[in-house]
Symmetry: none
Subunit: 197 residues, 4 copies
Amino acid sequence: MSPLTEEQLHQIRDERKEQIMAAAAKVFARRGISGAKMSMIAAEAGISHGLLYHYFTSKDELFTAIVRDAMESSFQAVGSVYEFPGSPIEKMRLLTQIILDAENIPYFMLIHALHTADDVPAEAKKLDEQYPMQGYVDLLLPLFGEGQQAGEIVAGDPQELLGDYFSVLSGLMVINAQPETGYRMPDVDVILRMIKA
Amino acid sequence: MSPLTEEQLHQIRDERKEQIMAAAAKVFARRGISGAKMSMIAAEAGISHGLLYHYFTSKDELFTAIVRDAMESSFQAVGSVYEFPGSPIEKMRLLTQIILDAENIPYFMLIHALHTADDVPAEAKKLDEQYPMQGYVDLLLPLFGEGQQAGEIVAGDPQELLGDYFSVLSGLMVINAQPETGYRMPDVDVILRMIKA
Amino acid sequence: MSPLTEEQLHQIRDERKEQIMAAAAKVFARRGISGAKMSMIAAEAGISHGLLYHYFTSKDELFTAIVRDAMESSFQAVGSVYEFPGSPIEKMRLLTQIILDAENIPYFMLIHALHTADDVPAEAKKLDEQYPMQGYVDLLLPLFGEGQQAGEIVAGDPQELLGDYFSVLSGLMVINAQPETGYRMPDVDVILRMIKA
Amino acid sequence: MSPLTEEQLHQIRDERKEQIMAAAAKVFARRGISGAKMSMIAAEAGISHGLLYHYFTSKDELFTAIVRDAMESSFQAVGSVYEFPGSPIEKMRLLTQIILDAENIPYFMLIHALHTADDVPAEAKKLDEQYPMQGYVDLLLPLFGEGQQAGEIVAGDPQELLGDYFSVLSGLMVINAQPETGYRMPDVDVILRMIKA
DNA sequence: TATGAATGAGGTTTCATTCAT
DNA sequence: AATGAATGAAACCTCATTCAT
């Protein structure tokens, strides 16, 4: 009966959702929650603002969906460090290099926005508690300890060192979210010196 | 009951302005430009929102005034590094420690907000060009070179290294602007490892 | 598998229209004109909202069609009172009983909505002038006069009494349109006392 | 310090609130909840729509405030019946006459709107449960029983009769909310016949 | 005929700014 | 100088209507 098959419609919906979320991630990252206007997101996605509401009930829901996406996939990405080749410090080096990629900036910005705004949707706050930075630290603790025992990584409380390391990375991503601001994105090896023995 | 002299009035006015700017810096830092509402600033300053407009023509002017203040005083603070005691690396250590003080966070946040928002007043943008990060780097280049020659500071392009260093510091300040976000503010010595020989 | 004849198609179309109008009447009655959303009507009719527009050009046209239907059939129903058995007051009793049936509520609600809203389509307003309450009164005047002469019906201006009577019935139907509101639908005989000698 | 005394401001606020509520009652009564636009209410009150939000947080809150007002004062009005002069049926007659006053129409309409709309604020729904029609019936039961014993009021279950009576009155008020609709507002004595012995 | 994606006018709400007192 | 009432531009969101398939 339907002129488009169920499957075709499903595909259209999924593609549109992706398209909107990609556009929204950009805008949220660049402007923060209240600075991101629905009209900007619509324009960035090349659709009418009305259609946004066909796919996401509200700005809040849209923001939350993007954050969920960002957190889940970043968590996975960090977890894959154990499949990297090389010694612990070499694994850390690779992971750092991957993280610093400009394309990850929106993810860091979103999490930053999450902490910055105070009108964050409750749902998004839950996600923040579910995937805290501590999670990344825990994930890497074994690797880090191994590196310390091997004498490749500097001595000290691994929890704190890893926390410091992620904080530095997060900060760099956040301030480099805008182009042309005069900030620099340091070379991997410069940052790595913080934890290298 | 003689009326206040012109000068006394002027001084009262200036004190009020300081009070408002301090309150506004806090709010701008915590919420960003569009997230900071004039009513919040008024509440934080303990005055009515109407009174804000007796001291600052607009939100834009208020923001710009704060940014100017932040830039000028931070520039001065960094410049005073040459009066610090100790060897170059010790001077850098002291400067870093001073910078990382939580009370400086608003300054970094303001500059970050300046880069983040796109509805930044033109006046504020001019300030950004007038006091770019490069200025801080230039200020410290002689000290840094001295340290490298003394073998205290790691070899490499001093321009880039200093740029990296300031970027890391800026990033850390920005992400630690909100309390309770799980980020860490690393110990001075951890950061210092990035440039220490 | 011979294709449907023109006539059969027409009939199917008409049945669909009836189905939609019945659904719409329910929704309009319960929510009023602006409270009734096209999507609700479509859902109630079990079709997509897009299909509504194959049968009715607009919400206004749909509303008008329902009102026309309601007015025409109710006029006919009241007119049939003369074929009822019994004396004038008994005829009035039967008519009242028929009117008070819950299934007639949508008709009264529609006419009420017509008077309530101010964004009523011009076409519908014309209908309201074409079938005013006065029409019902005129229809019943002879019967009423007969009842008065027979001493069954209370004395007084029959125009006014009949007007009062219909107003009371209308009011009762309208406030009982929603279930569970605490209002009562009085017994026929209680209402009849208003006009019984 | 304040250029207007606390008291003056309070008075302005109260007057404005009254003015807005009166205007809103009119508009809500005429158009229902979703049909009443905030801009209409503002226009009716002769103020800007922005100012509405200075006094009432939302359309819902405004509606609820009016309903509360309506319910409380109508409850009081009905309760005062016992202070009326005359026999029970005469008291009922006076009460009826007071109720039927055109100025009370908004009150009935609001309660009707409350039952009609389905997007009624939760707060308003609570009020509806707190002041149900049964409350009015209970209030009048003693008087009604007295009238029945005195042979002035028709025999029958007083609960049901009073319920019927209020339903008829409510219905009449609701359908006569709009001017020029062809409905009639019956004379007190016509309605009274429903309960008079 | 039938569907649901897509649009945009219009309604609700927020908030920077003005102004009477 | 100080307050808070008042305004209106602009943001968010809803929903009647259109249109590709």
